[in-house]
Every structure is written in C-alpha cells, then in structure tokens.
Symmetry: C2
Subunit: 199 residues, 2 copies
Amino acid sequence: MVTRKGTTRASILEASVDLFGSRGFSAVSLDDIAAVVGVAKQTVLYWFPSKDELLEAVLEQTAIELAAVIEAAVRSAPDEPLARVEAVIKAVLRPAVRRPALLGLVREVSRLSPEHAERLTTQVQPFVRRAIDYLAQEMQAGRLRTADPGLVVALSYATVTGIATEPTALRAVEWEATTAGLRRLRSELTEFLLAALRP
Amino acid sequence: MVTRKGTTRASILEASVDLFGSRGFSAVSLDDIAAVVGVAKQTVLYWFPSKDELLEAVLEQTAIELAAVIEAAVRSAPDEPLARVEAVIKAVLRPAVRRPALLGLVREVSRLSPEHAERLTTQVQPFVRRAIDYLAQEMQAGRLRTADPGLVVALSYATVTGIATEPTALRAVEWEATTAGLRRLRSELTEFLLAALRP
DNA sequence: CCCTCTTTCTACCATATGGTAGAGAGCGAT
DNA sequence: ATCGCTCTCTACCATATGGTAGAAAGAGGG
C-alpha cells in the first residue's frame, strides 16, 4: 500500500477517540471504527492487537494531548492564579467544543475497569499534585478563597468537563450552539469559576 | 408464585439503575441484570418487553425519584435563594453518594439515542423553567450574582453531578470516602457553589 | 527477477446477547 | 376438580462481535 507509515494507525486512534468518547467504549464495535476509518475490521486489529489495547492507546494519547494544551495555557498566562484559571478554561474549551468526545472520553474512564482508571490516574497524578500545591500556596497568599485545594481542583474539573460533555443539559436550558452562544458559554463558565475561586 | 405483586419488577428496576448508571447502558446485558436480581433473563423480558423499554422505565423512575427529592428540599428550605441551593445540594448529595449510579444514569442520557434524551428533557423541562425563572428573579432582586440564569442552572448541575459521578477524579485528588470525607465534600461543594452564586 | 517485509483484506470461528415460543407452577374462582 | 390468570422458567434462534489464520498485494533490496 501507498499510505505513509502510521497514517492508518493515527486515523484509527482519531476515530476511536470520537466514538468511544461520544457513545462509550462498549457501545462501539471494531466494525464501527473500521467503517468510519474506511478499512476492514482486521486492519484495526492489525494495528492494535485487541479492543482493550486500542482503548489503552486512545486513553494515553488523549491524556498526552490534553496535558499539552493545559501546559501551554498555564505557561503563557501571567503568574496570577485567576488569570491562569481563565487561560486554562479558554484553552480547554476550544478543543472540547470542537471535539466533544475528547472530554467525554476522559469521563468514560470512571466506567472502565479499575486497571484502566488507575493507569490514567497515575499518568495525571503529577499534574494534579502541582495544581493542588499551587492552589494551596495561592490560598495562603490570599489570592484565592481559602478552601480544600484538592477538592477545589476536583470541583473545577467537574464543572468544566460537566458543562462540556453534556449537550443534553445545555439544550435543556435552551442554550444554542452558535458562535455567539459559545462565546456566552465561555464567559459564563469563566465568571462562574472565578466567582467560586476568588477570595 | 408467591411474591407480592410488583416486587420482581421493582427489583429489576433497582438493579438496572445501579448497573446502567455505573457501567453504562450497553455494557450491561439482560443476563447481568437477571443475575443480580436472581431470576432468569426471561423474567426480565416478561416485565419489560425489550431492553430498550426497560431503559425507558428506568429513566422515568429515576427522574421521578430525583424530582421528588429536589422538590421536597426546595419546599422545606426558607425562601432565600442561597439557602435553597444549599438545601438542594444536601438533598441530592445524600442519595447520590449512597447510590452513585443514580446521577451516573442521568449522565448516561447524553450517550443514548436522541429519542431517549428528548423524552427525559421534556420530562424535566418544567423544573428547569421554574429554576431559571426563580434565579432570574432573585438576580434582579440582587440576592444572586447577575448572570445568565439558564447557564447558571446548567453549570450548577454540571458541578454537582460531575463531582458525584466521578469517583476517579476524587481519588486523583486523594479524597477518601469516609464519613468525615463525605462531610468535607459536602461542605466544600456547598461553599464552592455558594461562592459562585453570591452577588 | 525474486525474496522479504509491511500492510490490508477475505474467510472463518466461538461466544455473547437480545429476543421468541411455549411449558409448568402456584392460586383464586366457579 | 378444573379452568384461567399470573408469573417464572427451559429450550432455542438469529445476529453481532471480538478475534484467529492466512492469503494477496505492493514496495524495496539484492
């Protein structure tokens, strides 16, 4: 075949993120993925020896991508906690809205086997630690509302991924997915979180 | 048979909430449910003619239960928006922690067919409308931070269900599911949301 | 030209799963 | 007793799905 090395593999990963993230792991068959990519099921099984290993690869790649996005946002923001939070929201919301499945996949983790969940947790752990330490320090400095920094991280995460992964909820409050609606969503989410975090 | 009328049916519904809510609809087989209840698969299919109709019944019952809990909480709280929010959090968090699958099921809705999602949305719509109107009114009266009331409802919902349905995230921040941990979670969640809503 | 390596596909297979058909068991009414 | 109703079960079936075996088809080196 003519395709450049890795192209098929990458396409499979991409399609898998979308499908697993939107419908859930077990609701997606290898045939579904193959159909989206435009290959035979066996090609999928050639690049990933089993559905389970495909999932692992998908999770790992997603974690890496998201980590990079967040890392860049934090780095480019001024050294002020609220500004950084705002930057992260902005950075995460863009890919999240363009590909809703991304955060959907993150959420899917809680439904998977403890092994998969723990793998991801371990991978994300250093980031979480850093975030918690940072928040703790800024709280002590009076630049953030004093609270349990760990739970604040979890709550912020819950708010952002929650709002980004539940189109149903947004439709229930008659929100519309237009450009204007998106801008409004972003600004409301930011205000909401900043209000929750401000001293 | 001797069993009181409806007992089997209720057991099936209960087990289905737990299984669908924790593992996801398509990851649960009728045999799984039957095994938990302690009957044959055919008994499940006797009470609910298909897996799909079982799901519908499960969703409807869950919606009714949750609505009752929230309704009662709002009614019993003083007529002050922040107190009401606090009461609702308290009321929702109790069943949510005891049966994590409850809110997990609510979340599952976004992965299901548009028909199921719309059914639920329609059912919940009046509550949402009332909540939005109430918030709008209280914002105008200066008792809540002024914002888009619809999105505030969605964001609050996202925060609560997010934190209640993602044990993985909580474990990642080293939260422990003890009685003390639970109390702390509730108080931090309340503080977080109240801070986000206060004028 | 041919050998080998990589990549993809066709042909199957075993199992799991949703669902159908119908039998049997308890029980109240006639 | 027996008829009928409710409820649960055993026996099957068709299909979908994850996975195996191995053939074909290019591409590059000798």
